[in-house]
Structures are given as structure tokens and as C-alpha cells.
């Protein structure tokens, strides 16, 4: 499954960078994230749940490893999710570029999805993933606006 696109953040690149890598922000903004902990500089561990068609609560233990990080321009993540409903694994690359007063984010993820979730959720997988990502990015944008307006994290 390929998930790719761009997203505009109305704020400076360095702030966006910090938000994207902040486990608390990720936990708050990314739909279905029950917990996410930064266990080392380059490694996050967490639990995510998603509902796809007949599977109402597919819980995944997720490990994210940063493989290639160049602040504040780009990073690459190795993603490994496993749960009783199957697995997902793959790579995602994120680039950040200044865009006027804001930041343009480009993302491209190439994910393999397997097990029950692939077998019975295939029809909806693409649209659900995209929907969840859009919700997450929108929430993150609101968080960014909140911070820029002087609110606490």
C-alpha cells in the first residue's frame, strides 16, 4: 500500500519538525494511538488501534525506527506493527520545505499489510488509512496553530 501526499503547515519548519517528532503530540493527534513512547533517540514504541470494515478494533504494537534524519529537512522511518489482526511494515519518508510563512510537508509511505486485516479489510484499507492520516495531520495543524498562538503543548 502506497500512501503519499503533501500537507501544508501554517508555521515555521523547525516548529513543525519538533511537533512531528514529539511522542506526546503524536499520541494526541494520530487517531487510534493509545500510547507512544520515545524509548531512544531513534526509536518509538506504542500501541495503535484502527477499525476497518468488519474488524472494529485492530490493535497493533508499533515500533518506529528513524533511519535517516536530517533536521529539519527530512527523515525516514521504518515502521513495524504487529497484532492479532495481522501486521503492517514498511518505510515512510517525510520531507519538510519552507513554503512562504509555512512549511510544506511531503510524505510517502510504502507499507505491506498482512494477515486478517489485509484479507478482510482490503477494500477499505486505502480509504481508512488516508482518512486517519488526514485526521491526524489536521489535528496536528490545530496543535501547531494553538502553539503558535501561545498555548502550551
Amino acid at each position: 500500500m502506497i500512501v503519499e501526499g503533501t500537507h501544508f503547515f501554517p508555521g515555521p519548519r523547525e516548529v513543525v519538525w519538533t511537533l512531528l517528532l514529539d511522542p506526546d503530540v503524536l499520541a494526541k493527534t494520530m487517531p487510534g494511538t493509545a500510547s507512544i513512547v520515545r524509548v531512544s533517540d531513534d526509536r518509538y514504541e506504542g500501541t495503535m488501534a484502527m477499525g476497518i470494515g468488519p474488524i472494529t478494533a485492530a490493535v497493533f504494537d508499533v515500533v518506529i525506527t528513524m533511519t535517516d534524519r536530517a533536521e529539519p529537512e527530512h527523515y525516514t522511518m521504518q515502521i513495524e506493527g504487529r497484532g492479532k489482526f495481522g501486521f503492517t511494515r514498511g518505510k515512510a519518508a517525510v520531507t519538510l520545505a519552507p513554503d512562504g510563512a509555512g512549511t510544506s510537508m511531503g510524505y510517502q509511505a510504502d507499507l505491506v499489510v498482512g494477515g486478517k486485516i489485509a484479507a478482510v479489510g482490503q477494500r477499505l484499507l486505502d480509504s481508512v488509512s488516508k482518512l486517519m492520516l488526514r485526521q491526524g495531520l489536521d489535528a496536528m495543524t490545530r496543535e501547531l496553530e494553538h502553539r503558535l498562538a501561545g498555548g502550551a503543548a
Partner: protein
């Protein structure tokens, strides 16, 4: 009822009352005191190295009695048997790799079992699956037939150094000379993709060990109860007579249930013995999409050499066959494809080579048709294209190439799946063609109706194809016929039954010879306690092989009746007749005896059984045909295609079928109708879609489409009877007939409906969206 009154009669199915009122037992109906339930943990990965598996948490879950992984099986862990060794074709390459009970080191397809949980309920067992921690190091999957054979491809089985499972080349004549002499050479690539058998009842195994008696009883949805019994006895170190396998009523077999030994079949009885409690495992539908065998992925590069006047000079075919992760069934499926391609035609020169390929997909074994579909599809499509290019009518080109009715036995000079020469025993192909063309109104449709409807802007088409189905192969089956003192006649045979109507057709064969009411004949199938020699239900052979055994046993009992009754009635045997459940002097019905009374006299409590005779009115006989016979037929259909949505409506479906002597026309018609439904599913609805990682993406009936009653027309059917000389009844098989040529007929009809648009169909299954793509592409649009 009188002697001679049952063959060819539309006797209502004797088993239907039980089936329709819910009184017929199925495996899942077995409920034993203290019974435990089994669930299997299956791999999410299609290909990977099993690094570790930790079941300790699962073992501690309340309600769990045992969890087994490969390492817990000890010596019991061993790959399954190679069911069918390769045939003696010179130069043949064959790499045998059979399925394992639980993965020990390497996962080779999604759904391959990793662990087995035994618990107080299925609910607890399934929960415990989630407690098992599995570490699989993923490997790139072998998911493409052509890429699998490239030098750098990942390997399904490392020990072979290749994904090539087999390579077989069969030749007749000299194709190169045929091609050199040809006025037209048609060359195309054809695809046929994989589907599920989708029986209404999934698989299931119940096992019960009686330690005091030292007896194991297994209820199994198998099509082959006797080989299962023999295999289990050998694996478990028990005497064959101490294992009883019961294959009760089964909701559809279609081939995958002849596969042996499924991991569950091996493990459930073993664990029942270890735990001393009865165990039950019932496959759920999602498991069935992975754990039950499948069929039909092949890619053919085929070439047909024709003369200017539309005569076949030769055929060359080279194809790849997807055998899945293991090849326990040997080469049956691709050899069927190779042989069935020749069909009812005179093909002077034939050159056919196939390569079977291991892939990281579920195992391939025969599914209704067993490779025959592909051969028919390739040959019929090549003929359709040749007809178009030569300007010859589609019916006419077939007519010109048929093996003629006086040419039998006809030798195609290659080997068939039973290792015997591919020799057709009998047939009348031109008669079937003319009858089918007449029934569907081919001439009128092509000359008048189609042009008129086309002028109205409607896209209507007609398809008409021929096929041969090699049926009724050996090795043998047996039957025992017993007249009981009550007058009831019991018949026991070893084949299992999955809805074919065995309880009726076998009863008809016996009632025919014994002159009894067919309803007084009780048939038992699929219980090794009642009959324990035989092979199983496959290859459209029940009526041919088991039927002939029933017939032989009935004749022997008839002879015993006559021999015993003649002196008692003071008459010559030749003056006696059997009718109405009695044996009596012809013309003097009062000088007679009931068969039940005679059965009592045949089992005296005083006196003696004289030398050379046996007590009772009972006989056991076996039948093994010299080789398979050739059933045949013509399928014709009319379709209408919606040019906007690419939806296809089948408006009429005609089958003219020849299965030799017909025992019960209604049973034959039902088999054909069911087969056509299966074939329509294959043609336009059913497709298992795997991604590049070997993940099955439509493992549920939400996404895997089966045709419904609304999609399947009622088949208009006529019979041609050319009795087979290879068995005393003259019968041929019919179980797979309906499903075999459907894709070819569908492709021709749809292409005809779209004539002039440039759409050429070289693949099955189609779907509305795929057909739409082809239409857009033909218009020069984007793919």
C-alpha cells in the same frame, strides 16, 4: 417395481428427505461427552523464517488444556505423503515437497499452521491463539509465476535451488512440420486465475480415542475415508481395523476434500489420543480461504496451425502451472490441462510442455475440473480466433475437426493422469454439436436475431464450445450387497458422498438386479466399519467405478438367489424371475418366496452350508477399469452485454452431454446444473487476489464473489448416450462436466456480443470491471 425398471429412470433422491429435514448427520453435528475444541494459529506472513514461537502464556490461560507447536510433535512431525507420483514420461523433472503438520522452520504460505490449541471451548481456544508470540523474519515472497523462475528469485524450497516443481514435455508427431505447412498460425497468451472451491460446508475433524478398546474413531469431511483410515493407522501405530473413519454427509467436496493429509487431519486424532478426550475442529470460512487447497492459476503460450480450409494441422502449447507452496498431488492438474486441450478434435501434431512452479500461495490440488478448464479454454479460444481469421463459422470449424463416431477407440498418443495412454473409448461429437446448435437456435440467432438486435444497439452474443472430460479412472472401488431377513437390501461402499446422489443411483443399480423397490435399498457410504477397501470420491468416478462394483455385487447376489430358490421352488433357474421383492416362477407368481425369507433360509441354524456355497444372500465385488473413459459435451450460451457497465447477463444456457448410459437423468442434470454454476463463478465472479507479498486480499464472502441463483440460468439439457465399453454399465462420469467448458463458452459469447469493438478475451476470470477495462483498451483508451 420389476426387474429392469430402474436404469435411466428419474427416481427421486432417496436421501433428500433426511437432508431437507435436518436429520442427515454432518461432522459438526458430532457432540461427544467431554469433548474439547481445537483452534489453529496460522501464519500472517506468506514467506518467512520462523525464529521462535512462545506458547507459554497460552498454556496458562484458564480453559486451555494443551498447546502444540512443531517441536512438541517429536517424531510425529513429518511431511505428508506424495499422493500421486509423477507419470513415466521420458525426461520428466519432478521435485516433491509435501505439506507439514505445523511449521518448523519456514513459513511458505499465508495461513500455514504454526500452533494448535486445545481448550474447553472454541472461544477460549481462539482467545489463546492471541497469547502465542511468534517471531517470523519475513522473506520476499514468490508471488508471480514468471518471476519465480528467474535466477534471482527467492526460493520457496531452498533444497531444490529453483522454484521449478516439475517440467513435463509430451509430443505427438512433429509440430514444426505442421506449422511449416499451415496457411494460418494463431498464437496467443492465455491466463486462467485461481479461485476457491467454496463448498458450503468447510472442513472439519472430530476424533475420539477409546483407550480400553484401543480404538480410534474419526469423523472427517474427507472425500477419501479409507485412505485416511489407513494413513492414520500407520502414522499412529494402530491396526487398520482399530481405526474407524466416518465421512458422514458432507456439504460439497469439489476436490479439495480428497487432499490428504491436511495438518488438522493428522493432528486432531493424535492429540485426542494423548489427551484421552474427544476433540473437535471445524474450519471457519476465513481459514478455508488459506487452509483448504485451491486451483487454477496457469499461463499458456499456445499456437494453433490451421489449413486454409479450417483443419487443425497442429498445436503447440507451453504453460506455467501454479502449484502453490507444496505439490502433494503431483502432476494431476497440469497433466489434465495438457491432455484435455486436445478435446474432441483430430490434432495430428501436438507439442505440449509445462512447468509447474512453487509459489508462496496456498497449495493447489484438483478443484472440480482439475486443470481441464485450462485446456478447453486454450483450444476453444484458438479455434474461435482461427475461425474469425479464416472467415469460417464457429460451429463449422468445430464440425470439420471432430474425431468421427466410427473412429473409436481413438488414441491421442500421449499419457493421461492415470498413467494410461489417452485413448477415448466412445463418443459422438457431431451429434452433440448439431443438437446443441439446434436447441440454442444458433443459425437463427446468427442470421436473424443478432443482426436485428444489433441494429437496435444491443450487444448480444452466442458461444458454443466442445469439451472432453476424462472420467472414471482406477484404481478400483468395491461394494457389498446384503439381503437382510426383513427383505431390506443393504449396500455398503467405500466412496464418500458429498451430495452427488449416491444413495439413489447405487440403490437403483442394485434394485435393478434384485427386482426390489428402490426405497428398500439402504446405501452406506464413507464409513470404514461398513466397507474398508477403496480409494475415494474424485475424478468423476463414483458412478463408473463404485457403481460398477455395486452392479457386480448385485449380480452375484442375484445369482445366489436363483441358485438357492430354484430347488426350493422346484424350478430351473432360467424359469425364475425377481420382481416385487420376491423370486418366483415366471408366469406363476404364487410359486415364489420373499427375498427376506430366502435370506433366512440361506443362514440356517441347523444343517450345513454345502461346500462351494456361502451363508446368506450377500456378495462383495470390486471393479477397476482398465483406464479412464471419455465423457463429452457441448455447452452453448447466449449473453447480453451492457456496453456502459460491462455487466453480462446470460440469457440462455444449453448443455448437450454424453456420460454414456444414464442411470438417473435427474441426478445427471443436477450435477451439470451445479457444475455450470461453479463454471459461471469461475468465469465472471470468483477470483482469489493475492498481492506481491503473497497476501490474499479477499478472504471473505464480502469480497470474494460467488454467483447466486439470480446469476445462474436454468440449464436446458439434453443427453447423448454412447455407452462406454470399459465398464459393464456403459456409464461415464459427470461430476465435473458442467464446470469445465463454461469459461470458454462465456469468453466466446461475450466476445461475440462485442464483435466489431476489437475486444479479444484471453483470460478467465473476467469481471465487469475487467471487461470494462478491455473494452476501453480496445477503443484505444488508457488501460
Amino acid at each position: 417395481m420389476t426387474f429392469g425398471s430402474y436404469m435411466g429412470r428419474r427416481v427421486l433422491r432417496l436421501e433428500d428427505a433426511r437432508l431437507l429435514t435436518g436429520r442427515a448427520p454432518f461432522v459438526d453435528d458430532v457432540d461427544l461427552p467431554g469433548m474439547l475444541h481445537v483452534a489453529f494459529l496460522r501464519s500472517d506472513d506468506a514467506h518467512g523464517l520462523l525464529r521462535s514461537i512462545d506458547a507459554s502464556a497460552a498454556r496458562h490461560r484458564p480453559g486451555v488444556l494443551a498447546v502444540y507447536t512443531a517441536s512438541d510433535l517429536g517424531d510425529y512431525w513429518r511431511p505428508g505423503p506424495l499422493l500421486v507420483p509423477p507419470p513415466p514420461v521420458p525426461g520428466l523433472v519432478f521435485h516433491a515437497a509435501t505439506q507439514v503438520p505445523l511449521v518448523r522452520d519456514k513459513v511458505r504460505h499465508c495461513g500455514e499452521p504454526l500452533a494448535m490449541v486445545v481448550a474447553e471451548s472454541r472461544y477460549v481456544a481462539e482467545d489463546a491463539l492471541e497469547d502465542i508470540v511468534v517471531d517470523v523474519e519475513p522473506l520476499p515472497a514468490v508471488a508471480d509465476l514468471e518471476a519465480a523462475l528467474l535466477p534471482d528469485a527467492p526460493l520457496v524450497h531452498d533444497q531444490f535451488g529453483t522454484n521449478l516443481a516439475a517440467q513435463v514435455h509430451q509430443r505427438k508427431g512433429d509440430y514444426a512440420s505442421a506449422k511449416a505447412a499451415a496457411a494460418l498460425v494463431v498464437s496467443r497468451r492465455f491466463h486462467y486465475d485461481r479461485g476457491a472451491a467454496a463448498a458450503i460446508e468447510n472442513r472439519g475433524v472430530v476424533a475420539s480415542w477409546d483407550a480400553r478398546a484401543g480404538e480410534l474413531t474419526v469423523w472427517d469431511t474427507t472425500q477419501a475415508p479409507i485412505p485416511i483410515r489407513n494413513g492414520l493407522a500407520s502414522m499412529l501405530g494402530l491396526g487398520e481395523s482399530h481405526v474407524r473413519v466416518i465421512a458422514p454427509f458432507i456439504g460439497g467436496g469439489f476436490g479439495p476434500k480428497i487432499m490428504m493429509f491436511y495438518p488438522e487431519e493428522v493432528l486432531v486424532p493424535w492429540a485426542a489420543m494423548r489427551l484421552g478426550r474427544p476433540l473437535k475442529w471445524i474450519e471457519d470460512r476465513r481459514e478455508n480461504f488459506y487452509a483448504t487447497t485451491q486451483e487454477r492459476g496457469q499461463i499458456h503460450d499456445a499456437e494453433l496451425a490451421m489449413s486454409q480450409d479450417g483443419r487443425i494441422l497442429g498445436v503447440r502449447d507451453s504453460f506455467l502451472h501454479d502449484t502453490g507452496a507444496y505439490d502433494p498431488y503431483g502432476l494431476t492438474v497440469p497433466i489434465n490441462s495438457q491432455c484435455t486441450l486436445l478435446g474432441p478434435y483430430v490434432v495430428p501434431h501436438y507439442d505440449s510442455e509445462f512447468r509447474a512452479v512453487f509459489t508462496n500461495r496456498p497449495i493447489v490440488t484438483p478443484v472440480r475440473g482439475a486443470g481441464r478448464q485450462h485446456g478447453v479454454f486454450v483450444m476453444e479460444r484458438l479455434l474461435d480466433i482461427a475461425a474469425r481469421e479464416l472467415g469460417i463459422d464457429r460451429v463449422e470449424i468445430r464440425r470439420r475437426n471432430y474425431i468421427q463416431p466410427d473412429a473409436f477407440p481413438y488414441d491421442h498418443e500421449i499419457l493421461f493422469q492415470d498413467f494410461r495412454p489417452l485413448v477415448y473409448d466412445s463418443g459422438n461429437y457431431p451429434a452433440a454439436l448439431e443438437k446443441a446448435a439446434l436447441m440454442i437456435g444458433y443459425e437463427d440467432f446468427v442470421r436473424e436475431e443478432q443482426p436485428r438486435l444489433r441494429r437496435e444497439g444491443r450487444h448480444v452474443g452466442i458461444g458454443l464450445v466442445s469439451y472432453i472430460e476424462g472420467t472414471g479412472i482406477g484404481p478400483y472401488e468395491g461394494a457389498r450387497v446384503t439381503v437382510e431377513p426383513s427383505g431390506m437390501v443393504r449396500v455398503a461402499t467405500g466412496v464418500g458422498t458429498q451430495g452427488q446422489g449416491h444413495f439413489t443411483t447405487f440403490a437403483q443399480l442394485v434394485a435393478e438386479q434384485l427386482g426390489v423397490d428402490v426405497a428398500s435399498v439402504q446405501v452406506t457410504t464413507g464409513d470404514t466399519r461398513d466397507f474398508n477397501w477403496g480409494t475415494g470420491t474424485f475424478a468423476s468416478r463414483g458412478a463408473v467405478v463404485a457403481g460398477s462394483a455395486c452392479h457386480a455385487a448385485a449380480l452375484k447376489v442375484r445369482a445366489k438367489v436363483l441358485a438357492l430358490a430354484a430347488p426350493l421352488l422346484g424350478a430351473q433357474e432360467g424359469d425364475l424371475e425377481l420382481r416385487g421383492g420376491r423370486v418366483a416362477v415366471r408366469g406363476s407368481p404364487e410359486r415364489g418366496l420373499g427375498l427376506g425369507e430366502l435370506a433366512r433360509k440361506a443362514n440356517p441354524l441347523r444343517g450345513a452350508v454345502t461346500p462351494g456355497t456361502e451363508p446368506g444372500l450377500e456378495a462383495t465385488c470390486y471393479f477397476g477399469p482398465d483406464r479412464g473413459n471419455a465423457a463429452s459435451g457441448v455447452h452453448a450460451m447466449r449473453v447480453e452485454v451492457d456496453p456502459e457497465t460491462a455487466e453480462v447477463k446470460i440469457t440462455r444456457y444449453v448443455v448437450v452431454h454424453d456420460c454414456g448410459t444414464v442411470i438417473n437423468p435427474m441426478v445427471v442434470e443436477a450435477q451439470v446444473q451445479g457444475g455450470v454454476a461453479h463454471g459461471i463463478g469461475n468465469a465472471f465472479y470468483e477470483q482469489l487476489i493475492f498481492d506481491d507479498n503473497g497476501q490474499l486480499m479477499n478472504a471473505s464472502f464480502m469480497d470474494y464473489l460467488l454467483p447466486t441463483a439470480l446469476d445462474v440460468p436454468t440449464v436446458e439439457l439434453a443427453h447423448i448416450e454412447t455407452p462406454s465399453p470399459l465398464n459393464p454399465l456403459g456409464v461415464k462420469g459427470v461430476g465435473e462436466a458442467g464446470a469445465i467448458p463454461t469459461g470458454a463458452a462465456f469468453a466466446q459469447a461475450v466476445e461475440d456480443a462485442l464483435a466489431g469493438t476489437g475486444v479479444e478475451i484471453t483470460e478467465i476470470p473476467l469481471s465487469p470491471s475487467r471487461l470494462h477495462q478491455l473494452m476501453v483498451r480496445a477503443r484505444g483508451g488508457a488501460r
